[in-house]
């Protein structure tokens, strides 16, 4: 039985094989879903998507999609009617920006100083990885401290046995 044989092999000789298979399967799943794409969105879903990108002007943090306020409701109706009139999502957003300013968008515009917000997470992550890399390299290169120095015979036989047992127990409990 081929699958059983593969699994047996994975269990005994190549423990990484099963993990590799799992990884490949996961990536494949994600790829298939990505390629399959999203089902077509209805008008109501389109309104929701655009509304989710707009900041309800009278609320503190909520988007127009989430806010129960009457003004947000009217904005959603306005979005729906603009969509019905053939405006694109970008045009609708531009209309609201013309009336309310850039702050009505939930995310800053991509141009100008405000657009730097989109680069910052990458910058942060990159600097963190570089700093960690430098640190790890320094630690890896450093010579290890003297391992347990010359063995002094301050421990009795019984004590040495206790030590050995404890170490064995530890090794069993903790991996590696």
């Amino acid at each position: 039985m081929k699958p059983g044989g593969v699994l047996k092999q994975a269990r005994t000789s190549a423990p990484g094989l099963l993990v590799l298979i799992a990884l490949v399967v996961s990536v494949a799943t994600l790829t298939i879903v990505a390629v399959r794409g999203h089902p077509p969105v209805s008008r109501a879903q389109q309104v929701q998507q655009i509304a989710a990108g707009l900041h309800c002007p009278i609320c503190k943090d909520l988007s127009v999609a989430d806010s129960p306020a009457p003004l947000a409701q009217q904005m959603r109706q306005e979005i729906a009617s603009k969509l019905g009139a053939g405006e694109s999502a970008d045009q609708i957003r531009a209309d609201f920006v013309a009336a309310y300013g850039d702050s009505v968008l939930m995310s800053p515009p991509r141009q100008g100083l405000a657009g730097a917000a989109y680069y910052l997470p990458w910058l942060v992550l990159a600097s963190g990885l570089i700093a960690a890399g430098v640190l790890l390299r320094r630690w890896l290169r450093a010579s290890p401290p003297d391992q347990a120095g010359p063995v002094t015979s301050e421990l009795s036989e019984a004590q040495l046995r206790t030590v050995a047992n404890a170490v064995a127990q530890l090794r069993a409990e903790e991996p590696g």
Binding site: Q74, F96, A98, A99, G101, V104
Partner: protein, 171 residues
């Protein structure tokens, strides 16, 4: 050490700019731009189209019957209307998120003399970037918004502004 001090100084300086400024005040992008056009029905009367009022100074006041601050500025608006209506100035009240019945009651009890229009679906309000009531826009003769006031207007300031615009024309 110097680096720490410099960094802290920059941080504190940036944060300090936020002090003393009201974070909820957001500047309207419409000031200096063409006033969005609308055609809205009056409460009792024919429709009003903003573009047809080109050549006159328009004071556009967004209000609601349930808004207590609007009652505060009511007399100021009436006085402005009385004072300037023969000088080519129009005051229009745009009702916001209200019912026609409540609006009519308010108009009657407060004795509002200038034209009042209904804004169904808040479409005009949205075009003007309204965040609440009262808000007032002053539109000049060429249809450009010259000022925007959030909250009850001050009659004296409004009067000065209108006078300046009238003087500029006649000069």
């Amino acid at each position: 050490m110097a680096g720490v001090i410099a960094l802290v100084a920059v941080i504190v300086a940036l944060l300090a700019t936020g002090l003393g400024r009201d974070p909820s005040v957001i500047a309207s992008p419409l000031v200096g731009r063409a006033a969005p056009n609308f055609t809205l029905p009056q409460l009792d009367g024919p429709s009003v189209t903003l573009s047809k009022l080109r050549g006159q100074i328009v004071v556009l006041n967004f209000w609601a019957s349930w808004c207590t601050e609007c009652q505060v500025e009511q007399s100021a608006l009436d006085r402005t209307w009385q004072q300037f209506q023969d000088s080519g100035v129009v005051v229009i009240g745009v009702d916001f998120e209200d019912t026609a019945g409540d609006a009519r009651n308010y108009v009657r009890t407060a004795n509002v003399t200038y034209p009042v229009v209904e804004d169904a679906g808040a479409r005009a309000a949205l075009a003007y970037g309204l965040r609440g009531v009262p808000e007032t826009f002053v539109v000049n003769r060429s249809g450009r918004i010259v000022s925007h006031v959030v909250g009850p207007i001050n009659a004296a300031r409004l009067g000065n502004e209108i006078n300046t615009m009238l003087d500029a024309r006649s000069r």
